[in-house]
């Protein structure tokens, strides 16, 4: 494992730190491998593909989101439904075949415990989703697509996340 020699930010996390990193977040990095930072560019390439799909499928469109919630078009239900089905079949096979990552690491899955945030927080996000016409991924894609004013929406979303973090202890979970 020669790449470990490049470690820039070697940091042994305590159990408490790991728990903190996982708080209220599904997509934490469980990989134990440490790579040089530029290894992350492969995720940029995946992001580029994703960004192209977002625009070409018109998922970033505020109009499509209005249609979805006005029940006047099947389009977004088709996109999300297909994505869930393909994702679920993929996860099933990754588990069944005990697939490993390209670095030979076993792919792991963690269960997410229910808390009341998944009701209150989800309602709040849903309300914002219809107003902005975008969930977080499409927000970045709207900005990249040339709607420069969306940078204000993104900054507001970052502010919203910060305020949540600040008052997290006082909110029902």
């Amino acid at each position: 494992m020669t790449e470990t020699e490049f470690i820039e930010t070697k940091h042994i996390e305590t159990k408490e730190e790991i728990e903190l990193r996982h708080l209220d977040t599904l997509c934490t990095n469980e990989s134990q491998l440490v790579h040089p930072w530029w290894y992350n560019f492969k995720y940029t390439i995946v992001g580029i593909i994703f960004g192209i799909v977002f625009v070409k499928a018109e998922i970033i469109s505020w109009f499509r989101i209005q249609e979805m919630f006005q029940l006047t078009s099947f389009f977004m239900y088709g996109v999300i439904g297909t994505a869930v089905a393909v994702g679920a079949i993929s996860v099933f096979f990754v588990k069944k075949l005990k697939l490993r990552s390209i670095y030979g690491e076993v792919i792991t899955f963690e269960d997410k415990e229910f808390n009341k945030g998944q009701i209150f927080g989800a309602m709040i996000f849903g309300t914002g989703w219809a107003i902005t016409g975008a969930c977080p991924g499409p927000l970045f894609a709207q900005f990249g697509s040339g709607y420069s004013v969306i940078i204000i929406t993104i900054l507001s979303a970052i502010a919203g996340t910060w305020v949540y973090g600040k008052f997290r202890d006082r909110l029902p979970h």
């Binding site: 990193r21 997509c27 799909v53 249609e67 977080p136 970052i158």
Partner: protein, 190 residues
């Protein structure tokens, strides 16, 4: 082929490609698909303040910011090189009717340019659609523990009950917003 790419893509193709991001990230590095966490990592790296929630090893999650950076680049590429500038989005006539009643008449672009432009920023509409809307997205996704990507796609694909509950309430919030809140916003904010 290239001309075909320039047409809007079918929902089944788009959904399949999005679904395939899930195993791609797993195989590339045991990474779980999700986007809203990027807001948290930006907070943690730029202005953690003295908030415990932002004091974690964010460098371990930096892959997520590279991923998000790619989304911005990909959207730019698709718009500049893969879109026919003369094309316009086709929207369900019922929705066109409702939006017309709000004063939205320009359907030439993916976004309603009458609403999402810089000159609206310091109006009440700007306050609602950019600042309040963005705030609700950032606050709500973190409170819920994920967004449409993390819960509705990755979480449902991994058969998580918590993600199913979250998805149901995402939709509930969206239906409320679109059918009750947004009509009121357009009625009272002119």
């Amino acid at each position: 082929m290239f001309e075909l790419l320039k047409q809007p893509w079918h929902w089944a193709l788009s959904g399949t490609l999005i679904g395939l991001i899930v195993p791609l990230l797993l195989i590339l590095g045991n990474k779980k698909f999700g986007i809203s966490s990027s807001f948290r990592h930006i907070c943690a790296s730029c202005f953690p303040g003295n908030v415990k929630f932002f004091k974690y090893e964010w460098k371990k999650e930096i892959w997520n910011l590279f991923f998000v950076g790619g989304i911005i680049i990909g959207a730019f590429i698709a718009t500049v090189f893969l879109t026919d500038p003369a094309s316009s989005i086709s929207i369900a006539p019922e929705t066109v009717g409702i939006l017309n009643s709000y004063g939205i008449s320009d359907f030439s672009s993916l976004m309603p340019v009458q609403l999402f432009n810089w000159s609206n920023l310091f109006s009440m509409k700007g306050l609602v659609f950019f600042i309040m809307g963005g705030f609700l997205v950032g606050f709500g996704t973190r409170y819920a523990g994920g967004c449409t990507s993390g819960h509705s796609i990755m979480g449902l694909a991994n058969l998580q009950k918590a993600s199913l509950i979250a998805t149901i309430f995402f939709m509930a919030g969206g239906f409320f917003s679109t059918n009750i809140l947004i009509p009121l916003i357009f009625k009272y904010l002119q």
